[in-house]
């Protein structure tokens, strides 16, 4: 031990290599299971650099064309509704694109992807959307006509994950195609150079990337797997990694003062809220109770103190970045007096120990949340405290990430402090429609409202942007009045990048910060 320490101390350690256009090192929080974007939808940052979709979402959550020439719409003739209730989407592909092995990218790859995903011999994470496609025609190598059996509103992001290369994967067991799953064939600015299990994935730039000569500017990207958050931040401080995405808010102050780092704040498309399971805890079915709870919480105070002002209070499931967002909805101020009045009106009177009772039962429930997030644990305790002030007894319970998913999926909880990463398409049906409780959807409030359900399904069944906006705005208004859940704050993304990095544009969606990595450049 001493010998080792001496030996290493004698060799003065060179300082960690700073970021350069030769190599940029990213501290990543988990090793991906696979780089096949269809097999698993989690952790897609690395894949985004290698496999490109027909469209992508930019920093404003707008759907923009990538491998497609433009986004098909009704106006440009790219989308046609049929008399049988179905629709056809015509994708025109950009000419001259080749896979990294030189084979041209064509509409046959689009057709192959749909057939593969819908085939029983392959197990992608989800066939959502694809299962509504009846067939794909390929009249020429640059045109794919996708036939849907019904109106499918998010058709424009159907191929956001890209396509599977037909010439490589046709006739093969894709689940076991480890050559593809460990090093996918794509059209993007990078390809996988090395995957050292448990340690890192190294990407290197491809010679003739179609977006332009000289792009991408950074030659190599390395994703180092550092699971422990504290260790990852320590690596950032010691310069061993240059980029860390999704910095936890409680670490912000530690790194905000580093001169070599810039912490980008991107308003996110996720929102934290308190889920109120009215199936398990009957008092939540009373709208007066729900309104009382939201008015008993000083959300502005939470944001200012626990969240260090890093995230804004939110009042609904759709965030300001979305085209469907409206702010003309009921907002509940912090008003404990009004909360108490509502609870009294609902028949819950204060008992001897300060907790309200009715018919011999106390107004007491358990609030669960995921362990390991300091911010969330603090918010849960603050909620416990503020609700106690109005006579509601809350017990906080922490669970690990995997256990909690199983718990809420089975609906075995009273209330949960939770966040949803909302998809870029503002569909709310799976979260609030009466028939979309698990396993059919994510309505884990078990909230049933016929009017709301009708509005949400109607908004799914049209592709007319105006009509959808109107319907979704009415849905937001209704949700705000009824408070099936308590929205807390909008999740701001914090991404730490080198101060010398140019052209970084964050991204609020799951597309992730590497969506425009081909433009990035380290300047001196």
């Amino acid at each position: 031990m001493l010998f080792l320490a001496l030996a290493s101390a004698c060799t003065r350690r060179p300082p960690a290599a700073p970021p350069s256009n030769d190599l940029l090192i990213v501290g990543y929080d988990r090793e991906p299971d696979t780089l096949n974007r269809f097999s698993t939808h989690i952790l897609e940052d690395i894949q985004t650099c290698v496999v490109e979709g027909l469209t992508t979402t930019d920093e404003n959550m707008k759907v923009i064309p990538l491998l497609a020439r433009d986004v098909p719409t009704v106006d440009n003739g790219g989308v046609k509704t049929r008399s049988d209730g179905g629709m056809d989407v015509i994708w025109k592909l950009r000419p001259g694109i080749t896979w990294h092995d030189g084979v041209p990218f064509t509409s046959a790859d689009v057709k192959f992807t749909v057939d593969a995903i819908n085939s029983p011999s392959y197990n992608p994470e989800s066939t959502d959307g694809f299962d509504r496609i009846t067939s794909v025609d390929t009249p020429d190598p640059l045109t794919a006509v996708v036939h849907y059996k019904e109106i499918y509103a998010p058709y424009d992001i159907q191929f956001i994950r890209g396509t599977l290369p037909k010439h490589l994967l046709e006739g093969r067991d894709i689940d076991r195609a480890q050559d593809y799953n460990r090093s996918p064939l794509g059209t993007g600015p990078y390809r996988v150079a090395e995957w050292k299990a448990g340690e890192y994935i190294l990407l290197e730039r491809v010679p003739r990337y179609w977006q332009g000569d000289g792009l991408p500017r950074i030659r190599r990207l390395m994703f180092k797997f550092v699971a422990n958050t504290n260790t990852r931040i320590n690596q950032l401080k010691s310069g061993e990694v240059h980029v860390v995405a999704l910095v936890p808010w409680d670490k912000y102050r530690e790194i905000a003062t580093m001169p070599s780092i810039v912490v980008n704040r991107t308003p996110g498309n996720a929102y934290e809220h308190v889920t109120l399971n009215e199936r398990q805890f009957a008092p939540f079915a009373d709208v007066r109770i729900r309104r009382a709870l939201i008015m008993a919480l000083d959300r502005e105070l939470f944001v200012k103190t626990i969240l260090d002002g890093l995230a804004p209070v939110t009042h609904g499931a759709i965030q300001p970045r979305s085209w469907a967002y409206t702010d003309r909805i009921t907002r509940y101020p912090f008003d404990p007096a009004k909360a108490r009045a509502l609870l009294d009106e609902a028949g819950w009177t204060i008992g001897a120990n300060g907790i309200r009772r009715r018919d011999g039962r106390p107004l007491a429930f358990t609030l669960i949340t995921q362990a390991g997030y300091a911010i969330r644990e603090n918010v849960a305790q603050a909620i416990e405290r503020q609700l106690r002030d109005v006579g509601v007894d809350v017990r906080v319970e922490l669970h690990d990430g995997t256990a909690i998913s199983a718990i809420w999926f089975e609906g075995k909880f009273d209330a949960m402090l939770h966040w949803w990463q909302m998809p870029s398409d503002p569909e709310l049906t799976t979260f609030f429609a009466a028939d979309r409780t698990p396993p059919a959807g994510r309505n884990i409030n078990y909230y049933r409202n016929e009017e709301l359900t009708r509005l949400l399904y109607a908004s799914d069944r049209t592709i007319d942007r105006q009509e959808r906006t109107t319907l979704l705005q009415r849905a937001q208004t209704l949700i705000a009045e009824e408070v099936p859940e308590i929205p807390l704050y909008s999740v701001t993304r914090l991404d730490a990048v080198p101060a010398s990095l140019r052209h970084f544009k964050g991204n609020p969606t799951n597309t992730g910060i590497f969506w425009n990595v081909y433009e990035w450049e380290i300047s001196k």
Binding site: L4, A7, D33, H41, D175, G198, E199, N230, T231, I404
Partner: protein, 317 residues
């Protein structure tokens, strides 16, 4: 001795069967499963989950899953990982060298610390340096590896810049010196915590030995103090310590779960943490059977070694 070893090995077989069943039940009892991680994806539907469940064989009754796993396992087929679909044996084989490296260096370090500390504390029993060493050992045993590891990172890596904070080597080219530098901090955490415990055992064992009549006899014969301590007393006192060291050596195969996480060390300990979070049952079963077998085996070896070193120990099962 041979008879003893043979009997103990035979005994180990039913023991390992029982362990495998218990472990299987335990990991399935934890809420959630390999599919839980997909549930946060709002686009996953009931049909998708059913399909994935069938593909992984999780729709079969539990006893059937256990029997299928067992039948394959004893044939040497460790199955495929639920997370990435690669063979479990491959995933374990690629991480084993890192763990072997870390644990063997840590144990060598712990031994080289524990021996002098244990002997010196026993020799100077009651004196100031015994009290100092006892206090230090207590501190070492009480140190949470998690906190201690992060502290070392902050001091030696961020503060002084002498050592890298984590990982096994600098990714873009690590020569031997670079790899040694990466080894220092995680090995130090493990070595210090282990040495603290071991030195206490040794001290106790040495004190008991030093009270024996043969020690007084050796001194009376004029044997110099140093030789009495090392040649006569240590040889007898080291038996129990060796037994402890052998049992701790099972770490070589189970990996140091906390330390590997804190230092992003790509060994079996961090593989276990990841597999546990993902409820990757096939990987978990393989890892747990591997470490259970190691513990059972090393226990047998510890008893045998103890008997070799100390002829007073009679091997009975």
């Amino acid at each position: 001795m041979i008879g003893f070893l043979g009997r103990r090995c035979l005994q180990a077989v039913p023991l390992l069967f029982v362990i495998s069943a218990l472990v299987f039940l335990l990991i399935h009892a934890a809420p959630g499963g390999p599919l839980a991680i997909y549930l946060s994806n709002p686009n996953i539907r009931a049909e998708d989950i059913d399909r994935l469940r069938r593909a992984l064989g999780l729709d079969r009754p539990l006893w059937e899953q256990y029997v299928a796993w067992l039948a394959a396992f004893v044939r040497g087929d460790w199955g495929y990982s639920f997370s990435d679909g690669r063979p479990v044996a491959t995933r374990i084989a690629e991480r084993l060298p890192a763990t072997l490296e870390l644990i063997s260096v840590a144990m060598a370090g712990a031994t080289s610390l524990a021996l002098p500390i244990g002997v010196a504390a026993a020799a100077g029993r009651g004196r100031w340096f015994d009290r100092l060493l006892t206090g230090a050992s207590l501190a070492g045993i009480s140190l949470p590896a998690f906190w201690f590891g992060l502290l070392l990172q902050i001091v030696f890596s961020i503060g002084l810049g002498w050592l890298p904070s984590s990982g096994r080597a600098t990714p873009t080219g690590g020569d031997l010196v670079d790899r040694l530098q990466h080894l220092v901090l995680p090995a130090a955490v493990l070595a210090i915590v282990q040495a603290a415990a071991w030195s206490r055992y040794l001290r106790g064992s040495m004190i008991a030995t030093l009270r024996q009549p043969f020690i007084a006899a050796a001194r009376a014969r004029g044997v110099p103090g140093r030789r009495v301590l090392l040649r006569h007393a240590l040889r007898h006192a080291i038996g129990p310590l060796l037994a402890i060291v052998m049992v701790d050596a099972a770490l070589l195969v189970s990996g140091a779960v906390v330390t590997e996480s804190v230092f992003a060390w790509p060994g079996l300990g961090s593989l276990f943490t990841e597999a546990l979070a993902r409820r990757d049952y096939t990987v978990l079963m393989a890892l747990l059977m591997l470490s259970s077998s190691a513990v059972v085996l090393f226990n047998i070896v510890a008893d045998a070694v103890h008997a070799c070193v100390d002829p007073r120990v009679v091997l009975a099962w």
